[in-house]
Amino acid sequence: MSTEQPTWFTREHYLNASFGWRSWLLTTDHKRVALLYLMTITVFFFLGGAFATMIRLELLTPAGDLFQAETYNKLFSMHGIIMVFFFLIPSIPAVLGNFLVPMMIGARDLAFPKLNLLSWYLFVAGGVFVLWSIVAGGVDTGWTFYTPYSSMFSNTNVVLAILGIFIAGFSSILTGLNFIVTIHKMRAPGMTWFRLPLFIWAHYATAVIMVLGTPVIAITLALVALERVWGVGIFDPALGGDPLLFQHLFWFYSHPAVYIMILPGMGVVSELVTTHARKRIFGYSFVAFSSIAIAVISFLVWGHHMFVSGQSQFANLMFSLLSFLVAIPSAVKVFNWTATLYRGSISFSAPMLYAMGFIGLFTMGGLTGLFLAAIAVDIHVHDTYFVVAHFHYIMVGGTIMAYLGGIHNWWPKLTGRMYPETWARVAAVIVFAGFNLTFFPQFILGYLGMPRRYHAYAEEFQVLNVMSTAGASILALGYLLPFVYLIWSLKYGPEAGTNPWEAKGLEWQTLSPPPTENFEEMPEVSEAAYNYGSPSPSI
């Protein structure tokens, strides 16, 4: 080895292999596509965040005085549509998954690189339609598009928004298809299923949901658009349709979609916990199979969104029982992550802070899910702020924490630069504190009976709402910080080196940033994942 290490600038890697906008917009390199996704979803994240800020500002006072009712309804609808379909669903899979799946299994690229690029273009096209719907005046149906309101009554740009989601859905399907084929067919020699990092198991499970669920939402929303445009009755009772059918079809996808959002986060946390505690994962096969179990069970529980819709009581009981089942694999994961910390060498690096935050907040989010699976309690808290708090604990406390933790953890690999550690720790703490202050009061609000999607509310709810808004402003600061210092680090961050965390995993064995085909020499695998040392049998 020469004494003079090649630097970011002197060595060729995927970022400087070619230049010019064409080399990016026509790239088939999964790492570049990942960065394209990263930039796109960051835009959507801050857009969705801006809507959230306006919602929280409006809710400072009980009277609906800041915005008009119609504007407020558009704000929460656009917040939901953008955050769900254009940030959370693609967040971890399309950025970190795209970047890491081929590298972690020792492949040069995904199985279908062109499809991968196409999926980004579909995503952007879908995004353009949704942005168009915003510019044209917004949508006020809520992200759930319940009929017959969405199909016959709303006079906003429902069709444009649906078109956007429809197109983005195909992007999701293509990503899922690509992951499934890649994980099955592209693994390096010696990379058996039980040597795969748990990140891969989680993404495999996610891909299964994407592939099997997404077509249903696509066709369902298309039917709503058709009903609107054509004026024919599919879901509209005035024309002989059945609005509950829409809910069944919608939630057949949209409940599993929750797991599209959280499963990749679980995969990220498995990596973060092991890396930053220098430990093997505790109970590898249980964590791995719980991902698959979650993916399968996720399709059996959609009816718990319809406990008060008047579906049959039998269906209520059936879906309630099945919903409780999800708690089991989720709990298994939480316990195994916690046990992994035991006797580790735990660093307080920013990714680890995010991971620990994730485990705790996901636990709370999951446990409050039990309230919603229990029909008797759900009847009271359904469509109240309790539900809002619950799913934000999963989506924000879970997915976004994992996403930020993952971005920090793999930032050196993505860019070849280290982020500023102190700032990152500060930001992680701010996010955690701000998050809890924002959403914990909403549990209480919900049980008190404050319905969601309310522009104006009863006066006794104000104190808790003010707390929530205060927390939201702290949270906003916590999100802006990484945005600033990560961009700063692109230029000023110290060079990271191949493996700054001394982590296991194939992605850390290649250079940072990696060469275009990921590895200079194709790897062969001869050991299990997370081999941080052999277990001592005495314990």
């Binding site: 099955h184 299964v208 099997l212 249903v216 509950l244 069944h248 057949f252 399709f299 059996l300 959609w302 009816g303 319809m306 579906q311 049959s312 009581q313 039998f314 269906a315 059936m318 879906f319």
Partner: protein, 96 residues
Amino acid sequence: MRIYVLVWVLLLLLLGITVSAAYIPLGKLNPVLAVGIAATKAALIAAYFMHLRSTARLIWIVATAGVVWLAIMFTLTAGDYFMRGYLPKPTVWQQR
């Protein structure tokens, strides 16, 4: 080649059966028969024309997954529509 022709003849035969069976009043059996024959035809096409019979087990699993998920969707939805008003009135609660 020959097996393809055989399957094709079978398919046309089944088509004939399903069309004629549709005109025999069998009550609730009519739709069951129609869907059953359709499933048989689909299985024949998948097994022979699409080579599912001789392909890797993984492919077989993927193909089955689609059908299983469809079954999930239909069964659980039926759990609502078929069971409306199913629960009898338990008398225990009357005393509460």
